[in-house]
Symmetry: C2
Subunit: 214 residues, 2 copies
């Protein structure tokens, strides 16, 4: 079995945006309300940040608990890593996730402004200024036979879709609208020429979209 | 997190039967047609017996690939293990699954006719004549902190439901009718007093039923 490039649990609004405009330190998703977009995942038993033994074990939980299965590396865009733009003023910023990031693998951050790698718990961040195919090669080697997760944001996923490098994709469409921001698609139907698509409504209100290559 | 007892990928007909009458060496599911009941699972990329790189990666694949996640032992009834009834004539029978059973963990077979344990590849079968709570204790110890899968058949699952030992249950209801056989339920609604229930239709035609304790 070859190493797949998988988008997992990526969230967009009903009008196709992965995040709003005006990202800042206080608002990682800009004008988008993360509470409304990600409530479905936070309600599940397998949500990584859960500290009690509750949570639902229905359909949505299959998606949250699949997040780490057979994943050996992640690729993300710089705006998923942090709100800064342009050259780094310093290297104090170490991501949004505190001392124990939820990745547990090497993470490759695509940026025109590389900086030294660093490690937090069992996650190591590397910063690379290259094209999608080249960073995918690096991530596959680091993943040691496992799959690679493409973590987003929407602009980064679009780059990999345009380069035809994505093998499978799970996108949760939330029942909210945003009007502007970082767009993944006008409509998921745009991808039907290259992908099988299953549309699975969840009792929680999100609609899971499952793509895999034809 | 405690060790759950989980039913995974158990199949029943629309009228509630897990298998038909007249089980035999040639017909593990008796009068039921396994092709019609299990086609949804066999079509997925993660089906354990798949030897090519094809298969669907939609909703149904989430269920097949979750089969082994965090499972440390299985409990099954004797009729899942084999077609024999009564005392063993000999110990030549080693299950339906050939030299590499798909369990990869200790398996506890409930039977009134114990026989010595044996190992095939990374699966060891134990034979125990006891009650559901006691075999669950044994399986939890063998699972070393992981969950325990309750493998069926329907009669065995009923025993554990009646003893209120089941924590989560995934049952795939196939669009076929059987009329008689080994019955899991008259209706899944029977369990709503004790369990949350999500009913998720799949594009393949099966309807996934997901239960977890209230």
């Amino acid at each position: 079995m070859s190493q797949l490039l998988r988008v997992q649990n990526f969230n967009v609004t009903r009008d196709g945006f992965g995040a709003g405009e005006n990202q800042s330190l206080e608002r990682p998703f800009g004008d988008a309300d993360p509470g409304a977009m990600f409530a479905w995942a936070g309600a599940t038993a397998s949500w990584p940040a859960r500290t009690d033994s509750g949570g639902s074990r229905g359909l949505d939980d299959y998606f949250t608990r699949d997040f780490t299965r057979n994943i050996g590396a992640e690729i993300m865009g710089r705006n998923k890593f942090g709100p800064q733009r342009g050259p780094w003023r310093d290297h104090d910023w170490r991501g949004w996730w505190g001392d124990e990031p939820p990745f547990h693998t090497p993470v490759f951050v695509l940026t025109h402004h590389p900086r030294p790698s660093f490690t937090l718990a069992d996650t190591t961040f590397h910063f690379v200024d290259t094209d999608p195919a080249s960073v995918l090669d690096q991530a596959r080697e680091a993943a040691q036979g496992k799959d690679v997760r493409l973590g987003g944001g929407a602009t980064t996923i679009r780059q990999f879709l345009d380069a035809d490098l994505v093998d499978t994709m799970h996108v949760a469409v939330s029942p909210v609208e945003l009007g502007s921001g970082s767009r993944l698609w006008e409509s998921p139907d745009e991808l039907r020429d290259r992908f099988h698509l299953e549309v699975v409504p969840s009792p929680s209100g999100v609609v899971h979209h499952l793509f895999w290559r034809k």
